[in-house]
């Protein structure tokens, strides 16, 4: 895929040059910090109460009581911030007219979309990396299961990848960044809550809704359960949205 690397680097350049990334990153880390503080604080209170009863001490588990809820909290914050990382990707090109440069350079659409997607994913991973010191602190103070932490980060990355692919699709639909962000957030939230109707719908349809929901798949990974079904879900979703983005761009060309 010729040109992908060039597109990727340029997109990173622009993402780093705009204040959006820093604001998004700061909000994410402040929220992450708050959630970390509150889960650790809760664990602390519980430890003290249980500490008087030796029978329960062996059941205290920082991985279960801190790491897991922390990752679930982070996944919610990710839902909130991902649309802001992707909203400018295609919309800004259209608004500024630079699409005309981009689509008259000798690069294919695939290289353009993938390059941009990977740039957003890189930034998302950098943002997640910002929470690593908190994990390091836990490692220093208590016993943690490393594999669960790694699986949790892997899950957050996959979740981010899925949300970003939705975001790049909505960004291709419009030249207005706000519309792109709102659509991506709405779409992401829909994927989040669609599983709630699993019981209501019942039967096969209910199962389909349950499988479509983004949350269930993430919770397994946060627990440290690496199920190929969950991983497949997080790989199929981006492929699907990138496919939609490419098809949409093509149809837009024909319509002029």
């Amino acid at each position: 895929m010729k040109g992908l690397w060039a597109i990727y680097k340029r997109e990173c350049y622009s993402l780093f040059a705009s204040p959006i990334f820093y604001v998004v990153c700061a909000s994410f880390l402040v929220l992450a910090g708050y959630f970390f503080w509150s889960t650790v604080g809760y664990f602390h209170v519980v430890s003290f109460q249980v500490g008087r009863n030796p029978a329960y001490i062996s059941q205290l588990n920082a991985t279960e009581m801190v790491v897991r809820p922390f990752f679930v909290d982070l996944s919610i914050v990710l839902l909130l911030v991902c649309p802001f990382l992707t909203m400018r990707l295609m919309a800004e090109e259209r608004r500024a007219g630079t699409v005309e440069l981009l689509f008259t350079y000798p690069v294919g659409d695939k290289a353009i979309v993938l390059g941009k997607y990977l740039a957003a994913l890189t930034l998302c991973c950098l943002m997640l990396l910002g929470t690593a010191p908190a994990m390091g602190l836990l490692f220093a103070l208590t016993r943690l299961e490393l594999m669960v932490v790694l699986s949790g980060y892997f899950g957050l990355m996959l979740l981010g990848g899925a949300l970003l692919s939705l975001g790049i699709f909505t960004s291709a639909l419009t030249e207005n960044q706000i519309i792109a962000a709102v659509l991506a957030f709405g779409g992401g939230l829909m994927l989040w809550i669609i599983g709630w109707s699993e019981q209501l719908a019942g039967g096969t349809f209910g199962k389909v809704l349950g499988y479509l929901a983004i949350t269930g798949h993430f919770e397994n990974l946060a627990k440290g359960v690496l199920d190929s079904r969950d991983v497949a879900y997080y790989l199929i979703l981006p492929l699907f949205f990138i496919f939609l983005t490419l098809r949409y761009m093509e149809s837009r060309k024909w319509r002029g």
């Binding site: 500024a96 630079t98 005309e100």
Partner: protein
């Protein structure tokens, strides 16, 4: 080099182009001329593979634009209308991106960057952020990105629009020097510019080609005899009687009461010297005597309005 065959383009139900055909030979500088919304930009966007035509085909150096768009794009350097640029980047970072995306390898990139920045005189601004550059400099960055990779064909969409006169002259000079070893298709609605820069003119109006020729041939093709403007100090009517007796003069018409008149001369006859002699000998104060050339403006207005009347 560029062959455009029977292009038709619809935007929804609106027809932007109808049956547009023309060609640009290797090494030619062709001006693509038309009023606003005539279909110039649409045609250029189709040639550069930004979008496909509804019907028709474009061949660039023998490559079909719809079959091998990436090949065609790699042959063309394109400056889009209004010069869209990544404004948050520095000049050199942006040009490096253009070089990389056009497939230049790392070793060739630095050299190529120096070359185009030298041509466009951007070297001392290479670390400036594009958003902070003046319009003239941004235009040069736009041309520089088109030049990267040394494509043989340059397509420039309104390269001098929005520039001040000094900048316009400078960009024109640049285009003239590029024309020596490139095939250039440039669109414009500024007529003197096209006449100065281009070997040949393609005139488009309302999505149709109305004329293709050199500027001089187009002027010569204009109907009507050459005209001479004569101005005398006083007594215009008797002066006009005197002039109408000069051999070669077809008709004389008074333009005002002051003594200015327009003289139609039959083609091939130059009656100016004889007119001057007779007027001076007749005791008139000869204040002005000049032949009125048919300008590209006249041709353009003529063709465009003629088109309006017939449609």
């Amino acid at each position: 080099m560029i062959q455009v065959e029977n292009l038709t383009k619809y935007y929804g139900l609106t027809r932007a182009l109808e049956d547009v055909s023309f060609s640009v030979g290797a090494g030619e500088v062709v001006g693509f001329l038309g009023p606003n919304a005539a279909g110039k930009t649409t045609t250029l966007k189709i040639i550069t593979c930004f979008m496909p035509p509804t019907r028709g085909k474009v061949l660039v150096d023998g490559n079909d634009a719809s079959m091998a768009p990436l090949k065609v794009r790699s042959l063309i350097g394109y400056l889009p209308e209004n010069v869209p640029l990544y404004r948050e980047m520095t000049v050199s970072a942006f040009l490096r991106f253009a070089a990389e995306v056009k497939g230049l390898d790392r070793a060739a990139r630095a050299k190529e960057l120096d070359r185009v920045m030298e041509i466009c005189r951007l070297t001392e601004r290479k670390n400036s952020i594009i958003a902070r550059l003046s319009k003239g400099f941004r235009q040069r960055v736009g041309i520089a990105q088109a030049l990267i990779g040394d494509p043989r064909i340059l397509i420039l969409d309104e390269p001098t629009i929005g520039l001040d006169p000094a900048q316009t002259v400078e960009i024109r000079k640049l285009i003239l020097s590029l024309g020596e070893d490139h095939t250039i298709l440039l669109s414009s609605h500024i007529l003197p510019e096209v006449k100065k820069v281009c070997d040949r003119v393609v005139i488009i109006n309302k999505g149709r080609i109305v004329a293709t020729d050199t500027a001089d041939n187009l002027a010569a093709r204009m109907k009507g005899a050459p005209k001479v403007i004569v101005k005398v100090g006083k007594d215009g009517p008797s002066a006009s009687r005197l002039i109408s007796e000069v051999p070669g003069v077809e008709s004389v018409s008074q333009l005002d009461d002051e003594g200015t008149m327009e003289v139609e001369v039959s083609r091939g006859a130059d009656a100016r010297a004889e007119m001057a002699r007779r007027l001076v000998e007749g005791g008139f104060d000869l204040k002005e005597l000049r032949s009125q050339e048919v300008t590209l403006e006249d041709v353009f207005m003529h063709l465009v309005t003629e088109e309006d009347e017939t449609s």
